[in-house]
Amino acid sequence: MYRLGVDVGGTFTDCVCLPPDGVPITAKVPTTPGDPSDGVMNGVEALAAKVGLPVEDFLARTERFVHGTTVGTNALVERRGAKTAILTSRGHEDNFIVGKVFQKRVGVSEREMVHMSRLEFADPPLVPRELIWGVAERVDYKGAVVCPLDEDGVRRAGEEMVAAGIEAVAVGFLWSFMRPEHERRAAEILREVDPNLFVACSAEIAPVLGEYERLTTTVLSAYLGPPIDTYLNRLENRLSDRGFKHTLLVMQASGGLGPASEARENAVRALDSGPVGGVLGAVFLGALTDRQRLICTDVGGTTFDVGIVDGGRPLVETTPVVDKYQFHATKVQITSIGSGGGSVAWVDETGVLKVGPRSAGADPGPACYGRGGTEATVTDADLVLGYMDPKNFLGGGMELDVAAAEKAIDRIADQLGIGRLEAADGIRRILDSQMADLVRRTTIGRGYDPRDFTLLVYGGMGPTHGARYAADLGVAEVVVPADATAFSALGMLAAPLLRVFEASAPMRSPLGQDEADRITSIFEDLESRALEGFANDGIAASDVDLRRIVQLRFQMQVHEEDIEVPAGKLGTADLEKLEADFIAAYAARYGEGSAYAEAGLELVSYRLEASARTERIELAPSGGEAIEPSSTRKAWFPESGDFVETAIYRADKIGPGQKIEGPAILERMGDTVVVPPGTTATVDGIGNIHLDLPAKADEVVTGELDPITYEVVKNRIWAINDEQAMTAAKISGTPLIYESFDFNAGILDAKGKGVCAGVYVTYHTTGLDLAVEGVMKTFGDRDDIHEGDVFVTNDPWVGAIHPSDVVVISPVHHDGEIVAWTAIVMHDPDVGGPVPGSFAVGATDIFSECPVFPPLRLMRKGVYCQEVEDTYLRNSRTPALNALNMRARLACQSVAKARLGELIERYGIEAVTGTFDRIQNEVETVISNRLEEIPDGTWREHCYLDHDGNDPILYEGHLAVTKKGRKITFDFTGTSPQAPGMINGTQSALRGGIMAAFLPMLCYDVPWATGGLEPLMEIIAEPGTLNNATHPAGLTGGSVFGEAITENLVSSCLGKMLASSDRHRDESMATWYPYSNVQVVAGLDQFGREMAAVLLDCAAGGAGAKSFRDGIDCGGWLESVSIAAPNVESNERHYPVLEVYRRRRADTSGHGKYRGGVGMEIMLIPHDNPMPITDIVIASSISQPEAPGIFGALPASVQGNLVHRSSDVPAQLEAGRIPLDPSEVMSESIDALEAKDNTQLNTGDAHFAWYSGGGGYGDPLERDPELVVRDLLEGLCTPDVVSGIYGVVVEDGRVDTDATQAAREGIRARRLGDARPVKDLVAEVGTT
């Protein structure tokens, strides 16, 4: 009998047949995008021909047919899925559209996400807003029904969906995984309305906590289900017609196989399964060669993919991303970057060589393809270096043009002022270092040391580069599989039939026998479902392996670990072992001491992986014998610094056991294995090539730093910065950090000047410089800074933005000298003082706010000063969370210091410090050039801050930005004196506020080296003013007020400045969501624990309009690239509240040709807690509209907070109604909260809040009328605005063009009729 594997790729369909003799037969045929089943059948015919049988006989003798398909991925990317609707809980219809604010940066690399004017949500969304229906129903965090399901409403929605031509419906209700009955009943009703509707329920598709990810998973399944169903039906019929008698098996992203019927029901499982084949091949190869730990690297033309196999199993992730949508599914983890053979090399304006991320693609492709491409690529460099035979590319199927490659490389060499070979080798080195960095991030980021692994290299370019990036990683062994096509497809053939089931039922420690019984019961239920499925496939329970996995975390943390539990009935001893295993795994991944067991554990979800054992595939031994080189060729190796006459071997002729010493090149049909000097190649018994690498050599550089080493070391420093920040975010226990990333980390030079900072809260970047300066001043002056020291401060007059921001700083020593600093600042939830959360509403100065400590030594020569931490924690209401954050900071510092040490060891101190200097020079050069290109001039703005925490006074901010040549001056003269309250900012907030706008608007493509920007800037701010406050001003709100007023002023001025340049206009934006509207809830939570928490719904203000597009609705703050608004379920799980609705608010944006993004509105009530909740509001822009519009656009609206006392909201919910506006609520009274307020919420009270949008751009009368109508239909603006501000006349939902033109002319005429000359007004009031 035969076994077949067919994997449909973008270009080729790879096919493999495993006959009884174990010698694989392969075929490669073109993919047929119109109907991929044509390509599959062509592949089957090709295999049948090679086997020597008619297709019908061949398929009749085939017992297993495994299929990997890209139909789902293609349908998603090309938006060719089913016309899909969403049915969700009323009041939460925008959940899918807003994407937790975070969607704008999902799937975007750290290097790209800093370009904020280019960030967008999924466009277009898979389901537009008009196809989302809400229905009254509500369940709470315990699974209790708060509002019954409106069945008539479901039926009405179903009828409307059918009328709209809907083919598939995703049903996703809040907390449905705790009580799925509402979703099930809704699905029944929808099927009654139309039995042909494809209906997917979130509690079935992804029964886990987190309504956004649960819903996206369900939408993806609904969207892709019908096209996958159609395709698989067609393929099954064609195979069956030609003689195949068994069940078609489909490759799943989970790493297993499933019957085609299951791929239809949960299509998301087959999504993005293509790259998984290579990892499964690694599993297969590892089993054959007795290797359990493998790093799988696939180097293609445009991308580089990395996966990990540990213990013989692929590592999986549970919240993968596809096309901007983060969803929930068990998926083999693959990490990718845009690096490959087609990556284009280029020289930037400072004379530094860069490679990628742009690719030449397949057409025109690299210059050497001879298809018109002229840009140098990695493939051209490899050809010039002699690694590739121009006549043997693609097995001789295509001859490469060496002269074209040389010409392209010469252009790069000329720009760099170096020779051709040096340039080509530089391109290779940079690509190899990028790939090594991704492997490091993938392995070290998960707590693995790459040196403990075998590196597997495949893909067209992998064998050419594998030995080099392996050496960079310190890996000792590289394996190049015998045949990449057969390798991936064989991996699929060897994969088990796999069924993954999940359940979510949060449980907290202490864990006793009751919990053990519940867990046993959950797994037994999952096991019976799994075994029933296998029984239907004819597989006996005895042939099924069951693996029970619990996902758990510390109660205050978000990062989960998978821990296995044994089969059978669980007891307390099993749970004790579960706890111990978790703590050990956590410490192993995040570092010794990072586990904070005192926090207690939370069991989050339960996963069962059920796999049917498959017959082991045995491969026949490969042939060959000891051979001599077939020829020699000149190839360039940096070890010898010149061309070397290099032995060339036909790899398929090399016999098992023969050793070949590098330098050598082993040529195969589809690739070339480069064996560098010092490396030994051998071939094993089944044709795989093993490379044994020499001990890692250093590449110490002395003297002048060459541009290629600079680029390599610079990228490494950048990667270290990414790693240190993510280390901290993973360990922290506060949603402010792990969900909203209110922190930042940086690397600074020996003088304390910033070299690079992370893509998190940008206003922290310059505070780090100041904090290091403060430490040097305090301790350096007395020569008291030592190796192993760590310092801490929360002093805003030193470097913190406000006292909640605790900064930890470490010197990095080399040979006894300080050569660098690493620093991290992180917001702690409460640092003491009279007000929970430490935003000291009512304070008059720092003495009445909270403790502030100047730089203190937290660690002396490596010994921790516990008394310092104890003193700090003693003042806090949240000592456990603060302690956890302190561990996060220390781990971050430890990682950064270790990595910098490794870098110094490898490249030498001169290369590292030289790179620090050059990064700063590069940034200075690039940005000063950019400034030079902008016309000289002055741009002004003013804005207000309302309420100082005591009185509702309006304070003013003024800014004049003057740009002359290559310099820019920020002059804040005229800004109000510092206030007698908590809103002031110090120098650190002032400088941070400038950077928060300057970095994303002008520095979007360079490291954030603030040290390089300093020489370009002058800042004028009078001491004793609102944003340059002196001691003892109150400033616990410095981060959201003193900083924000600066940021708003700067962003508006820069928006106008950039718009004055034709070249830089596309970077111009209006002001984003101007001020926070923070709500802190405090008191006791529903579990009786002390609580002081910021509700981060307030992250969802609107983004500023761009010069070419509307601002992002609910796009967040400019200063926080990575901000996220948490799931409603996340809030309700932690805090005693219920969010009645959360949706976009009409008319919060600034209207304009391009409007600002709108902000969010919420209504929440106390829930499941009879105790009053302390409700603290810290906001601005309550009295005055901020976020100014520019060039004739209007500003965004004010924001606000209304509390309806003793309302009927709970009664309405119980009666089956969900109010969607305060006007639908009856209450005894309404309190309009002041901008800073401190009140209480009692049972029955309802807090209604809305958040400002972003400023607009250009005259609203210039807006495309069609966009105005779209906004009206989506509920983003009101009819009065449509006619009064936009002058658009709408008839039956359509624009009346003639009437609109007339209306607009009428508005212009009215404007002029109402107006008077400005000079008259100036005569009365003057000018600024």
Partner: protein, 98 residues
């Protein structure tokens, strides 16, 4: 002097060479606001309105203390700037090019 703009400033203005210097003109109707060294707003006309006219939500704000100043091109009525300020505050100069 040139009849093609040297460059634009947002969507509101174009900058032209006027022979003895540069000048701002309306991007919609080419009305001349004046030399680029002076904020073009000073060559515009202005209407002062309630802040509720830019958003009905602003009724919750300090309606009596603040004013919405809308600046229009005298030639065509295009809105070229809009500021919210306290009643009686000086006119905000926004853009001046050397």
């Amino acid at each position: 002097m040139s009849e093609t703009p040297l460059h634009a400033v947002g969507y509101a203005f174009n900058v032209f060479d006027a022979g003895d210097g540069r000048e701002f003109r309306c991007a919609r109707c080419e009305y001349t606001f004046g030399p680029t060294t002076t904020d073009p707003k000073l060559g515009a006309v202005v209407a002062e309105r309630s802040i509720t006219e830019s958003s009905e939500l602003n009724r919750h704000g300090a309606v009596d203390d603040l004013v919405l100043r809308e600046f229009y091109c005298p030639g065509c009525g295009a809105m070229v700037a809009a500021n919210i300020q306290q009643n009686g505050d000086p006119v905000l100069r926004e853009i001046e090019l050397d």
